[in-house]
Symmetry: C2
């Protein structure tokens, strides 16, 4: 895979100078067009062997283009804040929005490769991480990101020569330390790991582009020209090949039974019983949240349900048990402009809680497969793949010791009508009922269908849905509180309290 890169390429100084002037102009122009027409982000990954001029290239890109619209992110060891979230969090935080260019220096590729070279992770764990990378990159491409992955390559003799040159020059001597020579010694091992890695993480939409990196001018022109071609191609929307996307239909229910209809929505609970239960579960939840082991966990809770099903009321009974400093609630409405410039999961990734904290989502990423599906805000293929993407997202949370609980609060159509009318009549409740609520109600069957598909496709053992019979608010609130509390208590048993710093 490094045949071309192993050759001794050369570009002479005069030719370089001449071309760079044109290239810079063209790049600037492309960048401007990207910014103004702004329909996709460009994400550049910079990776490769040591001493291959990765840093120089990043500097050059910033010099050549308008650096106001390029953001460069360097990923070293995770910070404390980063390590409290799933590994992908810091990458999500740094994603460029549509119309912008983001450069990731050492992204999700660095750690798996290094850890495999040093033997820290097994072949199997390496395979698992590779498949996560492939899924992440596929999602980014499907969401429209122009993903350009540059792999800077040096042959072994080229690497040796490079280190020697740096050492000779007093100005660059500091760049070659023992660590660099260590890398050199394990060159063969490194390539043995990288070759299958590059192969397995290359896809048609996001192949690795191997950059022959030994000669600075050749390297710079290769990257510059490729970047220009890739952005220009994509800007000419007409040239994008359109292949048909065949998403097979989901299975339709044959009878009238489905997980929602199987519920007995009217569940008994008296006010007295409710008060007793509320006190009991709020107490237990509070105790669980104060358990020292809880500092090794976090909770992500999703509240979805029919309009007027009582999501807000249930949520308040939960937060009522908690220290206000330990949780945050996110009411999810239509995405902001900033959010629309990102993959749909972006605005949820950014809200993930730190260790020892709760995040409550009043509506959530499930909008993709509910309202966006029913109202046709996205293509069919988009919400179909969302099931897979959402599952991947939640598994990443669960793997990171985040307790994921998801509630669907279900009321009957009659009960909803009763509550709507009540809201309309009661002055201080009128704000809660809008035209949109009535409009959604007309789509009752379509939503019911979408909810059942959602439950069938995204209820997993690590992130299960809890369907809550909510005609009786008392019952609903207690079920929510109890489910959440039991999930947290169970998770406490799986972790140790973190050491105090």
């Amino acid at each position: 895979m490094f045949e071309s890169a192993n050759l001794e390429h050369k570009v002479d100084k005069a030719a370089y100078k001449c071309e760079v002037a044109n290239l810079r102009e063209a790049l600037l122009h492309a960048q401007l067009e990207l910014k103004d027409r702004g329909r996709f982000p460009v994400l550049i990954l910079i990776a490769g062997v040591e001493g291959a001029g990765k840093g120089e290239t990043v500097n050059l890109l910033n010099e050549w283009m308008d650096s106001r619209y390029i953001s460069t992110s360097v990923f070293f060891e995770p910070t404390e804040e980063e390590s409290e979230r799933p590994a992908a969090w810091r990458f999500w935080r740094a994603l460029p929005p549509k119309g912008r260019i983001g450069v990731f220096f050492g992204a999700w590729h660095t750690m798996p490769v290094i850890q495999r070279v040093t033997g820290e992770i097994s072949e199997g764990e390496f395979a698992r991480q590779i498949s996560e990378i492939v899924r992440l990159e596929k999602m980014l491409c499907d969401e429209g990101v122009l993903l350009l992955k540059y792999w800077f390559h040096l042959s072994k003799p080229q690497q040796k020569r490079r280190f020697r040159e740096l050492e000779k020059n007093p100005l660059t001597r500091w760049r070659v330390t023992e660590r660099e020579w260590e890398y050199f010694k394990s060159y063969a091992k490194f390539i043995r790991v990288c070759e299958p890695f590059l192969r397995k993480t290359s896809m048609g939409e996001a192949p690795w582009i191997v950059i022959p990196a030994a000669e600075p001018r050749y390297r710079a022109l290769t990257v510059g020209r490729h970047l220009l071609a890739a952005i220009s191609d994509r800007l000419k929307d007409g040239t994008a090949q359109t292949l048909p996307v065949h998403t097979p239909p989901l299975a339709l229910p044959v009878d009238q039974l489905n997980p929602l209809r199987a519920l007995k929505l009217d569940q008994p609970m008296t006010k007295d019983r409710y008060k007793t239960e509320l006190a009991k579960w709020q107490g237990r939840l509070n105790a669980a949240a104060r358990d020292p082991r809880f500092q090794a966990l976090a909770v992500v809770a999703v509240f979805e349900g029919n309009d007027a099903a009582g999501k807000g009321g249930a949520l308040r009974r939960v937060t009522g048990a908690l220290d206000a400093r330990s949780y945050q609630s996110f009411p999810v409405a239509a995405p902001t402009e900033e959010e629309r410039a990102q993959p749909y999961l972006w605005r949820f990734w950014r809200q993930l809680p730190r260790r020892g904290r709760f995040a409550f989502f009043d509506r959530s990423w499930y909008g993709r497969v509910l309202v966006e599906r029913v109202e046709k805000f996205c293509a069919e293929a988009d919400w179909h793949r969302a099931y897979v993407e959402i599952n991947d997202f939640e598994q990443a949370l669960a793997r990171h010791h985040m307790v994921v609980v998801k509630f669907w609060l279900a009321i009957s159509k009659e009960e909803q009508l009763r509550r709507f009318q009540l809201r309309a009549k009661t002055a201080f409740k009128q704000f809660k009922i809008t035209k949109e609520d009535w409009r959604n109600r007309k789509q009752w069957d379509a939503y019911e269908h979408a909810v059942c598909d959602m439950v069938d496709h995204t209820s997993t053992s690590l992130a299960p849905w809890t369907l809550v019979e909510a005609n009786n608010k008392y019952h609903a609130r207690i079920k929510v509180l109890r489910t959440l509390c039991l999930a947290v208590e169970a998770a406490l048993g799986t972790v140790k309290p973190p050491r105090k710093k």
Copy 2:
């Protein structure tokens, strides 16, 4: 993921009878249209828990439709012939052609799941196999296969009830053995493995469709309706969503240097030296092929090169060293009708050699990224993804102890002209030179570019390209023979001779 399937669905007899009549007619009609318009194959995977009526459903599908155009394949333990090829070989053999329906009963999903449940394979190996499945299925979908994956589900009580019922009936008692009750005992374990498996092998284009399988009529209607909807949707080409496929460009060389131009095409070798070397390497190759350990290996050799570069002559010097019963040569021309009805790799999979044998391909699957690319016989996105698919294919061979050697025989443009003219002049060589050769010659630069990209993207440590300087035929033949021989000798060191049966 089994919420709907765990419910007690029911369809009454009368309603069933009435619907089945219509459904059968519609299915037959769809099948006929599929056969006549024939632009895609339908591949149905049948999987799921024991006792869920998988066999009954397959029988029903054959009964409902025209069974001449359905082929059902059941995969038990691999046969001797199958186990001599990579695991995927038997599935490739059974793929339905365009216009036909294939039913796979226990396909590539069965073994990984069972082996993971029994603990035969580790979590890591399981992850590796899952990623292979995903890549295989993605390739099939990209090649236009309508892939329908039905997962037949029973809840634990449903499975118990089903076994009890079968036991009670004297006619079906034989179907419940100790093995079935063993499965029942490990139900929870099975589901614990299956759930993440289904999740990780579901994609937008090929999701698992969970079939509630407890009630035979409900089960049958669910599958029948879904199959009908899926085929009908796809037949209406207009409804296929077309999303843009953005394949970023490959990197272009900046200078004139590339792996082909870096070669010194004129290599010295006298006729005398050639004779000595030929005898030496033919002898060594012959000895290697007669080594008992060679019965644990096989060889797949690819001969590609410029027109008139001497592929045939080199190949004859190789086969000259071998027992005629131990090898087969495949001259690859335009695909036959049967081959065009399959994914492009199909015709190569079917020719894979058994253990202890050689397969020589005179031109090969690389046509996809050479002639099909240059002549625009396929879309750009198609040959881009072919690099990934070809690498996966060759890795599967290499993992199965097949020695993969690939030769590109390179001659200069002048040398080619000389040879063309010689062929045109010599009566018994005229058949070797056609208009097409002259046409290809006009595309010299485009082919050179395609060859360099091919080498850069598909030369891997397990399946490396050998570039052969072929202006001097003697040199070329010896380099081919020596490379092949050394590769076989090296591989002998990695295996033990198989036990005699």
